[in-house]
């Protein structure tokens, strides 16, 4: 475990995430009051009107200011904690639930593979975005439920959508692993399934689950981007009517929480008008996904460095003893 914290990739990744989360929570707690909103109009010395929001990026506003006069940089920072927390919670629960299901499936229910297989394939092949969207649609029909329960339902759907394919992945992994000789030996000596799970499978799976966690977080973030593009938001959107002067009114929905996917999806129309409004959340997404992938790669590297027998013997100290024993026997034979 110590080695992980010495790994460069892992450190960079986790440092970025922690700093971002820290900055984000500080912003909502303290900074949001002290940082003043960008001015509504910019005049030059002779009181000529220079610019109105959206302003393009400049030294004052690093990522520019959006159509509603809010600084995008702070908006992105503010939204980061929602996005990252949702992704983390969703992927954490995904991994836990599917590990449970996967172990049960591979050890107890593998006889029913013919029946379960097509079901898993169906889940795997329907694009996750479409799957999520049809579930989200059925939630949105009902307008009476509270905001919180909507978010809860949506998080549940995000978890549920990936559990089935993930279960399959874990089940095949467990199955491959249980073909090892030492597990067959343990079985023939009379070890029960529960014992094998606790002493062999879980220690083997634990570090791999962390890699899976990092991967799933990336997947969830990507899913959030896609949902944002199709204007499916986490939480409920605030409907916002604006008139463009001629008389026609356009309904615009604003995401309530500055959540990144909402920021991207709702200002998608700006792509052809003022591109920098989109650039902010995009950079946020790229950096976050990159750092989660770095974390995953770091764990992977540490795992690869360790000798393979490590897991089969349970703990390194026992392994050392075995080596010493081997030496002794060699000496004795001579």
């Amino acid at each position: 475990v110590k080695k992980i914290f010495l790994n460069k990739n892992f450190l960079i990744g986790i440092l970025f995430i922690v700093v971002l989360l820290f900055l984000s929570s500080i912003y909502t707690l303290y900074l949001s009051d002290s940082i003043s909103n960008p001015p509504n109009r910019i005049y030059d010395k002779d009181h000529h009107l220079l610019d109105v929001p959206p302003y393009s990026p400049s030294t004052n506003f690093i990522l520019g200011v959006d159509r509603y006069g809010e600084d995008i940089f702070w908006k992105v920072i503010d939204g980061s904690k929602y996005t990252i927390l949702i992704a983390l919670i969703v992927s954490f629960l995904r991994v836990i639930i599917s590990t449970l299901c996967g172990i049960i499936y591979s050890l107890y229910l593998y006889k029913w593979k013919m029946l379960v297989g097509p079901f898993i394939r169906a889940f795997r092949f329907i694009p996750t975005v479409i799957l999520t969207m049809i579930f989200f649609l059925s939630i949105n029909i009902d307008n009476t439920v509270s905001d919180f329960s909507v978010v809860l339902n949506q998080v549940f759907i995000l978890i549920f959508v990936a559990v089935v394919p993930l279960t399959n992945v874990i089940a095949t992994e467990v199955n491959e692993y249980s073909k090892n000789e030492f597990i067959l030996c343990a079985k023939s000596i009379g070890a029960r399934k529960r014992w094998i799970i606790r002493k062999h499978i879980l220690p083997y799976m634990r570090p791999r689950l962390f890699i899976l966690l990092a991967q799933q977080t990336v997947q969830t973030l990507l899913l959030l981007v896609h949902l944002g593009i199709f204007q499916f938001l986490i939480g409920r959107a605030k409907e916002y009517t604006s008139s463009d002067g001629i008389g026609s009114t356009i309904k615009i929905s604003l995401s309530l929480s500055n959540e990144w996917s909402g920021l991207i999806g709702l200002s998608y129309r700006e792509l052809m008008l003022d591109q920098w409004i989109l650039v902010g959340p995009c950079i946020g997404f790229i950096l976050t996904i990159f750092s989660f992938r770095l974390i995953g790669m770091g764990i992977q590297q540490v795992l690869d460095e360790q000798p393979k027998q490590f897991y089969s013997f349970g703990s390194p100290s026992i392994k050392r003893k075995v080596e010493i024993l081997d030496l002794f026997t060699l000496v004795k034979r001579k």
Partner: protein
């Protein structure tokens, strides 16, 4: 004979599962309430009934007209499938070619390329599409040359969507192939060939690639799946009238959704089966379809 029956059973099972999932999504809101079970079965019953009479499904093609589902879906379907095929071919070519070039480069360059690829892979496909569209428009503004049409309307575009969508799959393919080649390079027979003085290119193409192909094909199903799910976003952002946009338009009607998904499922399954057959042919080992 048995394997044919198994395949048919597999396909049927998957179709039934698709129907179940869609019906489940419709009644998701009532989960945990008393009437849920009966609603669920009613939904499934309706869906299956509609699917058996799929000739009668009507779609609103414009505000005042409606047409049959079959007539409306065929064109987008053909379009999407040709896009899919194009993307697959382009990403296979790009991925393999870039690996071939990368392996021949000196060590330091290889490391650098790996780093860059790792970074590019973490850019969401949406952002790739955004930036390429913007780039094409920027070129047009500067030089007055519209290289390719950035956004499709009623007409059919192929080049740009195929290129943009195949960037990420080819990078994934690159990484798979690269790892496989590196693993293969350490083996004894390669060293033997080198010692004999066989040409570097000859070793790569004739000996390594042949063996690497197996690994690549066993991953290609994942690749295919990845392309399919990205095609949805591509079609939406490029305003393409493909099957996925069609599905998105009629997201709330379950029978159209189900029949579209089943239509997409067939080439998917075919590809799966062909890949398995190819691996079987190459290695003599039968890999199970999962």
């Amino acid at each position: 004979m048995w394997s044919l029956l198994k395949n048919i059973l597999n396909i049927l099972g998957t179709i039934i599962s698709i129907i179940f999932i869609i019906a489940f999504s419709k009644v998701y809101l009532f989960l945990g309430k008393l009437q849920w079970f009966s609603l669920f079965f009613k939904e499934i019953h309706e869906l299956i009934f509609n699917l058996f009479h799929f000739n009668d499904i009507r779609v609103r093609t414009s505000e005042f007209r409606s047409g049959t589902f079959v007539g409306a879906v065929l064109d987008p379907y053909r379009y999407s499938m040709s896009l899919l095929f194009g993307i697959l071919v382009v990403s296979l070519l790009c991925g393999l070619l870039s690996t071939y070039i990368a392996v021949l480069l000196p060590e330091k360059m290889q490391k650098l390329i790996k780093r860059i690829m790792f970074f590019i892979e973490s850019i969401p496909d949406v952002i790739v599409i955004f930036s390429i569209q913007l780039f094409v428009i920027w070129v047009y503004q500067k030089t007055d040359i519209l290289v390719v049409d950035p956004i499709a309307g009623s007409d059919v575009v192929y080049i740009l969507p195929i290129i943009t969508t195949s960037i990420l799959p080819s990078i994934i393919l690159f990484q798979i192939t690269y790892h496989a080649i590196k693993e293969e390079e350490g083996k004894l027979y390669i060293e033997f060939a080198k010692a004999k003085g066989v040409n570097k290119h000859h070793i790569l193409i004739v000996h390594i690639f042949r063996n690497v192909c197996i690994t690549v094909f066993s991953h290609s199903q994942y690749l295919f799946w990845f392309i399919m799910s990205n095609l949805l976003v591509t079609e939406y952002l490029f305003n393409i009238n493909g099957i996925y946009s069609f599905m998105y338009k009629y997201l709330s009607s379950s029978e159209i959704l189900a029949s579209c998904l089943i239509m997409i499922f067939f080439p998917f399954y075919l590809f799966d089966a062909l890949g398995n057959l190819l691996i079987y042919y190459l290695t003599g080992e039968r890999k199970k379809i999962t």
